[in-house]
């Protein structure tokens, strides 16, 4: 049990002095994705060999996500003598023996992850690397199950500072001054939200952490929860102190079992040391955190729906105002922030708003974590200062597009966002610039699309998602999106007329302004932004009945070219027997009977089928 700020400082000093670092430390990334890629087998092999060969100067450690999804499973080797650190990627249990022999020296059979991708020590080193880590500083670096390791990385210094040296109002002012904007998507200024809740005179208030990360293709919150759980707990406790709440609730997806287990363990350990519970650091301030599980409803990422869900109801949104800060959970003042937002709070309190404002842009200080996925060479998590250009993120960090394909667009903001074309690649992105070009920050998912992706069908994909996830409470969202989806289907099938495009745009705008909550208000964004940026593609579908990307099945024609040697394989596989020709002679496809299933294209070994 740690009694006060002085006690904490002494404790940290003590562990720093007494904890001897081993000659070599081997760290294995074991977030959900690391485990899925086979990280656990690597860890067990390490354990086994170290024990069998009785190696005493190596210790092994589990850590969370390093963000290097493209190279999972990853293993980092740190030497305490030379201070050298190296990360090996795509490690199999067979490589373990080599690692134990060569350690940080590297070997021809091991692939090291390029240093540009990973700067573990660069919280301040924003000048020479495209990445800057505030939120992900500890993730992939410390053992998430060890409170001591969190202490050694300045853990709980911020909370001790807040409740010892600052008044609640000071804390709010600092966060407000830092202009920390909500990282969940909307970008509302966190300090203002806290100020509203603090002003309410109510004996009971709530601090909620929104960990219902539902945006497909976004997984940064999971990385933080699995890799640095104490950071979230500490920041929520600071928030509790600031607004005068004694209960915190983390609303987490049931689909994140590892994050749930990590949090339960972290809460227990924080309680044991006196950082949760009654009279924290011997003050009058008490705070507890409990977990509530989601049950697979995307709309529950919206704060009023989330609150309904915690109350055990259907997660349907309610009208705002009243805002949750005034009337939230059980009608009490409640603040809802997402995981990444909280992860910024402790560093802001520790280092001050002025430090934070030096990073990023004026309107959006700080960093943002992006999850790069889709048609990109290096899938993973990248944390960059706000204002970094898309070109830096996609081509410098993400290493460009695989298979020599052409970059077409990047989709940001998930189902509520939009697509950005190549002419905007040099735009520095933050909340405001993204909004200006018809997209949004969202939670930070970035799906990279190449020349083979049809923008109409991407818009249709997102509408399909919204349809599934619409709660059905308000008409524009429930019925309007259904109609949008139908129109997009018509366009993709080649049965639409120019009038369809006009209707599509009109209805999109109506849904945007008349829906009840954020989900409906933003659901037409993928349609509007693709119509705006890729109008020619829509026109090609409607007027010429072709799909320029060759993705819409209904608009394709398959033809056999001169490469055909007459092997008859396609004719044998064709489910409707519409391919004819003599053996060893060029075959032809009967277009009237072809159902465009693409089997011939898939089975041909000679590249003799054209798809257009």
């Amino acid at each position: 049990m740690i009694k006060n700020k002085l006690d904490l400082e002494k404790y940290i000093k003590n562990i720093k002095e007494t904890k001897k670092s081993p000659k070599t430390q081997i760290v294995v990334s074991l977030g959900t994705c690391g485990r899925a890629a086979g990280g656990m087998a690597v860890y067990e092999k390490l354990q086994e060999l170290i024990e069998a060969e009785n190696i005493s100067d190596i210790t092994i450690k589990k850590t969370g996500c390093m963000g290097l999804c493209h190279s999972e499973p990853t293993v980092e080797v740190i030497s305490s003598d030379s201070k050298k650190r190296i990360i090996y990627g795509n490690i199999k249990p067979d490589n373990v023996k080599t690692i134990l022999t060569v350690r940080e020296a590297g070997a021809s059979t091991l692939t090291a992850v390029p240093k540009e991708w990973y700067y573990p020590e660069t919280e301040d080193n924003t000048d020479n690397s495209p990445q800057a880590r505030i939120v992900l500083k500890n993730s992939g670096n410390i053992d998430p199950a060890s409170l001591d390791e969190y202490f050694m990385n300045d853990g709980y210094i911020a909370l001790a500072k807040a409740i010892t040296d600052m008044t609640p109002q000071n804390v709010i002012d600092e966060v407000k001054d830092a202009t920390l904007r909500g990282r969940g998507g909307g970008g509302f200024i966190t300090g203002v939200k806290w100020g509203l809740a603090a002003k309410e005179k109510n004996t009971e208030k709530f601090v909620i952490c929104n960990a219902d990360e539902g945006d497909p293709g976004a997984f940064m919150d999971r990385a933080v929860l699995e890799g640095d759980p104490f950071a979230v707990l500490e920041s929520m406790t600071i928030a509790g102190y600031a607004i005068g709440a004694d209960t915190g609730i983390i609303y987490i997806r049931a689909e994140y079992p590892l994050a749930i287990a990590t949090l339960i363990d972290a809460i227990k350990k924080a309680k044991e040391k006196g950082f949760l519970g009654n009279n924290i650091l011997s003050t009058n301030f008490s705070f507890n955190i409990e977990l509530k599980y989601g049950a697979g409803a995307f709309v529950c990422g919206e704060e009023t729906s989330l609150i309904k869900s915690i109350e055990g109801e259907r997660g349907e949104p309610t009208n705002k105002p009243p805002y949750p800060a005034v009337e939230g959970l059980w009608s009490k003042p409640t603040i809802v922030n997402n995981v990444e937002t909280y992860a910024n709070v402790a560093p802001i309190i520790r280092k001050g708003a002025d430090w934070f404002k030096k990073i990023g842009t004026k309107g959006s200080p700080g960093t943002k974590v992006f999850a790069l996925a889709g048609k990109i060479n290096k899938v993973g998590l990248a944390e960059v200062p706000m204002g970094t250009t898309l070109r830096d993120i996609i081509f410098k960090i993400g290493d460009g597009i695989p298979n020599n394909k052409e970059f077409k667009a990047v989709q940001t903001g998930g189902p509520s966002g939009g697509c950005i074309k190549s002419d905007k690649l040099d735009l520095g992105i933050d909340y405001d610039t993204l909004k200006e070009i018809g997209s949004m920050m969202g939670s930070g998912g970035m799906i990279i699309l190449d020349e083979d992706d049809c923008m109409v069908s991407i818009a249709k994909f997102f509408l399909g998602f919204t349809l599934d996830e619409s709660c059905g409470k308000c008409t524009p969202c429930r019925i309007g999106n259904k109609r949008l989806h139908e129109m997009l289907t018509k366009i993709c099938e080649g049965t639409a007329t120019p009038l369809t495009l006009k209707k599509l745009k009109n209805l999109s705008e109506v849904i945007k302004i008349t829906s009840l909550c954020g989900l409906g208000q933003s659901s037409p964004n993928p349609v509007l932004s693709t119509m705006d940026q890729f109008e020619d593609e829509y026109l090609a579908h409607v007027n010429d009945k072709t799909c320029p990307a060759g993705a819409c099945k209904g608009l394709l024609t398959y033809n056999i070219n001169n490469k055909c040697i007459g092997c008859t394989l396609c004719a044998k596989k064709c489910p409707v027997n519409c391919i004819s020709g003599e053996k060893k002679e060029k075959h032809t496809i009967n277009q009237d009977e072809c159902i465009k299933c693409g089997v011939c294209y898939d089975v041909c070994n000679f590249g003799a089928i054209n798809k257009k």
Binding site: G217, G312, A373
Partner: protein, 175 residues
Amino acid sequence: MENKNRCALGSENILDKSPEKKEQLTKYLEILDIFKEEKRRKGKLIQALHKAQELYGFLPESVQLFIATSFKIHLSEVYGVISFYSYFTDKPVGKFKINVCTGTACHVKGADKILKKFSDTLNLKEGETSKDLRFSLGGLRCVGACSLAPVVLVNERVYGNVTEAMIPQIIKECE
């Protein structure tokens, strides 16, 4: 509210079929402290449903009724919650739950083809369960393993970079 004698006609009473599960569920409800009169009792409903589904694999009407009675709310309120959240199901599910991730990253890498191939091979539509209760086929929104896209989950096991050619093997591994 009185829920007794309202059990649906013709539906099997799965609750009474396994008394040990019923006991476990009752114990869990006691730990949740739901039998105490309290205004905020309903806040524990979703937790209770999670537990019940963990025990029974799905939420048949008899179990819903039992929970409704315990929470002193109407059956329709429980059903309303179950039908809202995609995690809950009131139909039995297969021993092997095959879920194809249809998140954006998997979509652009061809998840729809994978889903179709499973559908054709197992002769099941998305959301269906085979009659012998061996397989359930479903889509799933993003598991966050986007580097492995397209991703297929069989129960807890993750298959990454799935191609149509891998599908017979994946099904075989379920045996």
